[in-house]
Symmetry: C2
Subunit: 274 residues, 2 copies
């Protein structure tokens, strides 16, 4: 961590009564920094706002939060700004009524991005963990992430970049920290997130602007269907568009749409195009 602010004040620690600490009672977003500026800040703020509504979290002053994100992005070497909105202090009992809210803004260095991952695609696996279905939380980037942590704990082979998570009915939901798209001919498909998963900002960009000549559909997608896809790629605000070379033993030869989306989206994210 390069720097952090709590309700606008620089700090390194947070109250032991914070409800995010005790219960994961909060929501967050992770913003890529390009040339000392946060990328897609409007969309990130809007999603935080939706999370506040959906989780009944106290709403921060979003104008002030924007300024804080901009300040954090100007920290030397910052590559990522994370915002964590917690319900604030009040850690005895689940009743959320009256908690004042707390906004935390963090500046981090960018994670290492391996050129070969973009050029040749990454290796995925299926997670053994089966995602639960919880429509009341689905879509939000809330701070209850034990399922993703448990799934990510299943392997430590560094050649495997991420895992695909499915629900109990075998529907694909997402990777542990990215959304997933599959291409079938001229159609892109990405899982519906009404039961589980996080509606990513980068996914939103793909949904709004598929490459010319391609349609994009939000749909239920059974894991068996991925075997017949022509191409697979992940989307994430920090890593951008990442092609998938193989899912388990099944290889994907094409990366054409992923490359096209890299050309369209990566310049705004300060990410290289391969």
């Amino acid at each position: 961590m390069l720097a952090a602010w709590i309700d606008g004040v620089r700090g390194e620690s947070v109250s032991l009564s914070d409800r995010a600490l005790h219960y994961g009672d909060g929501a967050f977003t992770t913003i890529r920094v390009r040339a000392q500026q946060g990328c897609w800040i409007d969309a990130h703020l809007q999603r935080l706002q939706q999370s506040c509504v959906g989780l009944c979290l106290p709403k921060p002053d979003f104008a002030q939060l924007r300024t804080e994100i901009e300040d954090a992005a100007r920290v030397e070497s910052a590559g990522v700004v994370k915002v964590l909105l917690s319900r604030g202090d009040g850690a005895r009992g689940y009743a959320p009524q009256g908690a004042p809210g707390r906004r935390m803004v963090f500046a981090y260095a960018s994670p290492e991005l391996d050129a070969s991952t973009y050029a040749q695609g990454l290796q995925l696996r299926y997670a053994d963990l089966v995602l639960s279905q919880q429509p009341a939380l689905a879509g939000y980037k809330h701070a209850n992430r034990l399922e993703q942590i448990m799934a990510r704990a299943e392997w430590d082979d560094p050649t495997i970049a991420d895992a695909l998570l499915c629900d109990v009915d075998g529907r694909v939901v997402s990777a542990t920290s990215a959304n997933v798209f599959a291409r079938f001919g001229n159609e892109l498909r990405t899982p519906s997130l009404v039961r589980a998963g996080v509606a990513g900002i980068c996914r939103q960009h793909v949904l709004q602007s598929p490459p010319p000549g391609f349609s994009v559909t939000v749909t239920d997608m059974h894991r068996d269907a991925l075997g017949t896809a022509d191409e697979l790629f992940l989307s994430n605000c920090v890593r951008g568009i990442v092609p998938v070379r193989a899912l388990g033993d099944h290889g994907y030869a094409s990366m054409s749409v992923a490359r096209s989306l890299m050309r369209a989206l990566h310049p705004a994210l300060g990410l290289p195009v391969y």
Copy 2:
């Protein structure tokens, strides 16, 4: 909060890199204090140990933790000691590997306990929120508690003490912060927690020692079945055994087993018997 210790050191705040803060990446337990001593400490430590195994959390030194719990229980006016074991620092990315663990011990005053609740029973409602099914997390008192928070946010009528949570198949799981038992004649039944819920220490005591003449069964229990129960009560380590007067509009006249269990368990918890 009366006092808190982080890894044995008194403090009021915790590192902003703690994974419990960012992801709810931890487990906890809440211990009743009687005469400056923690009640049922062995069982609480054993459950924390099980949580560490189940969630792949780093194991603390449990002998040291026991000493810290005992110290916290001796704080003036302490009524509850909470232990929160987080995975420790490392808040960029879900991968849990290598996080060092962090133990937090808190002394709190006892919550107010209303004599009439024990004497006449409490009013329950059904939560609108439907609990998700996640066998990988079920049973553990982990720090991902947004479902319970959302359920508890559904009402603020102070005459309603708690809500019963069911899963998508209509099976009763628990109250938001207590386990539930139903009596049918001479048989006590409590929900199986293999898909959702927290295996409470007080529940364990009831399972191990039902009142003479009664059997106790862990079973799937559909919400419709509660309409035909003779008696309903909740169990919780801080509040003990609490009879249920009514669930929604449906009243329960009998509190006989709840009273019998109060007599058996409350003295050890320093709780009154009604």
